[in-house]
Amino acid sequence: MNEPATFERIDSGGGAALCFSGDLSLARIGDLPKRLEAVQGPVSRIDLHQIERIDTVGAWLVHRFARDHGAEIVGLQPDEAHLLEQVAAAECPVEKPRPQAGLIPRVLGEVGEAVVTAGKTLYGLLGFLGATLIAFWNVATHPSRFRFNATVHRFEIVGVTALGIIGLMSFLIGIVIAQQGAVQLRQFGAEIYTINLVGRITLRELGVLMTAIMVAGRSGSAFAAQIGTMKLTEEVDAMRTIGVSPLEALVLPRTIAVVLMMPLLAFYSSLIGIIGGGLLCWIALDIPPITFIMKIREVVPMTDLWICLIKAPVFGIIIALAGCFQGMQVEGDAEQVGHRTTTAVVQAIFLVIVLDAFFAVFFSGIGWK
């Protein structure tokens, strides 16, 4: 192993000289930079006769010291002198990062930016909806351009493979609602109304809402990540240049798949939720399944099913559009893909819940209570 880099100060008639020795390389410099900074007084000469090796970091330290003290460098081999020259020639000023603004202006600035971004996103999303509808119209008038296989493939990914997880989730939610309902309603001796609670809330609200959240998490995020990655690898650009519309090839099959699968999944979810609730009623409240089913038919109006089936495709459009739109916004680097994917899911769930509130008011308003 080579000796660590070090130096010695020699004061002679013609001014002080620093005499370096050892291995002047990154691995062996140790605290040399600090010791060099501590050197006081004028130094007119840097002697490198005794060094064993020098690399660019060593050369830089020597160069920096020589520059700051106006010292002359002596005792280099030709190769080493060349290295020093190259390092010196490559010197460039270090840019200082701009000082950050104070807390209040920064918070205000961020809030302002967030508002502008939200506005732009909403505008962009509406534009994207329009573009998708135009693409849909084009495909509808030229059915040969419809990508049947791609769409059916999405059916499977969005719909069939989601059955397991959505079923399990709905089953558990049905049980939880029935259990909580039973505990509360028992206080009034009205356990029988647990059936109303389970039947109506799953079909009208929770089935479709939980399905939408699950689909946004499973498929909306996947859309954003897939399309985003395709943007990064220039696949989307390649499509455009070949004359394939990315909206027709990527966005439309996904949107159609989600719009068609959502009602099916939501109905399935409601059904499983009711089964879960029924099971709990049977076990905890001693209501036999046959009574439960009879009672469900009695208390759940047909309009609840319509509400479920009307809301589901609308939520589906929101999820698919948010996913595809955010995917198409990816530009630059891999971090964008992650960021856009997160945004797609958050946006989809947020818009679904906002719209759900509007739907609740609307359906009550038209008398579907």
């Binding site: 990154l26 190769d79 060349h82 290295l83 390092v87 490559a90 010197e91 460039c92 840019e95 971090e335």
Partner: protein, 270 residues
């Protein structure tokens, strides 16, 4: 910076076998890289040039075989030992592989901070500054993010990061692919001059015949899952292997020779 004798072997690969499922990429591959040389590695697409590099640097665990770098076996040793070797090499991946969330200067500082935490920020900034310029980037590229750079600039930034630790051994995976001829020639000059000033050993994967003629001391040819020949270009040309003949004597090969000769003639005049 006296150069040790040429026979000093830095990378030693023996009986390397790599396979992905049923597809065998390397079978019984041997290769030596000597200290201080620029070794060009050539081969048709899919002959496993990059896989060979990944095996040597430990990203790909081979099925069989021995790999020694700086005289130490790289396969199956623990992380702490591996770190000591990693300090001594730098790698430029094909696409640059810059960390996209960091600026160019920060990218260069990553290995420095990782291995030498005692360096202060001022010195780190200065080191990053001259590395960036030495790699042929303008000084104002330092605060930029990789997404703001062109393909050629990304390669140079990748090289700056590969050179951050002043390595003894440099792996370059197709450094000139995708660069314009002027940029590629400048990159060759840069590699050669860094090799000379820093005493580097360079393991260079390339398809660029100009690069091979201009800067490589020796060339290793990958074919039939092995290194079928290693030597200087005249030595390779003396061999009677169809692929080698085709490669160096094809139209592009001849053009590269012509340009190298012209270049040399011009330098003689000056």
């Amino acid at each position: 910076m006296s150069r040790p004798p040429k026979s000093d072997t830095i990378i030693k690969v023996r009986g390397l076998r790599n396979a992905f499922g049923d597809a065998v990429v390397h079978d019984g591959l041997d290769l030596d890289v000597r200290r201080g040389e620029i070794l060009g590695v050539v081969g048709g697409s899919g002959t496993g040039k990059s896989v060979l590099m990944r095996s040597i640097i430990g990203l790909q665990t081979p099925v069989e075989g021995q790999i020694e770098v700086f005289g130490e076996t790289t396969i199956g040793r623990d992380e702490t030992e591996a770190m000591d070797v990693r300090k001594r090499w730098g790698i430029l991946f094909q696409g640059g592989a810059l960390f996209s969330t960091l600026t160019v200067a920060e990218n260069v500082q990553v290995p420095l901070k990782e291995f030498y935490p005692q360096l202060d920020q001022q010195l780190l900034d200065e080191i990053a500054g001259y590395k960036v310029v030495m790699s042929g980037l303008p000084a104002d590229a330092s605060p930029k993010y990789p997404a703001e750079l062109s393909g050629g600039m990304k390669k140079r930034a990748g090289l700056a990061r590969a050179l951050a630790l002043d390595p003894e051994l440099l792996f370059l995976d197709e450094p000139t692919a995708g660069l314009d001829p002027i940029g590629a020639a400048a990159f060759d000059d840069l590699t050669a001059s860094l090799q000379k000033t820093l005493g580097l050993t360079v393991f260079l994967i390339t398809h660029d015949l100009d690069t091979l003629y201009a800067i490589c001391d020796r060339v290793a040819v990958l074919a039939d899952k092995k290194v079928i020949a290693v030597g200087t270009i005249p030595e390779l040309l003396a061999l009677d292997h169809p692929w080698i003949q085709e490669y160096f004597n094809g139209p592009r090969g001849r053009a590269a020779v012509a340009s190298t000769t012209r270049h040399a003639a011009r330098e003689d005049q000056v």
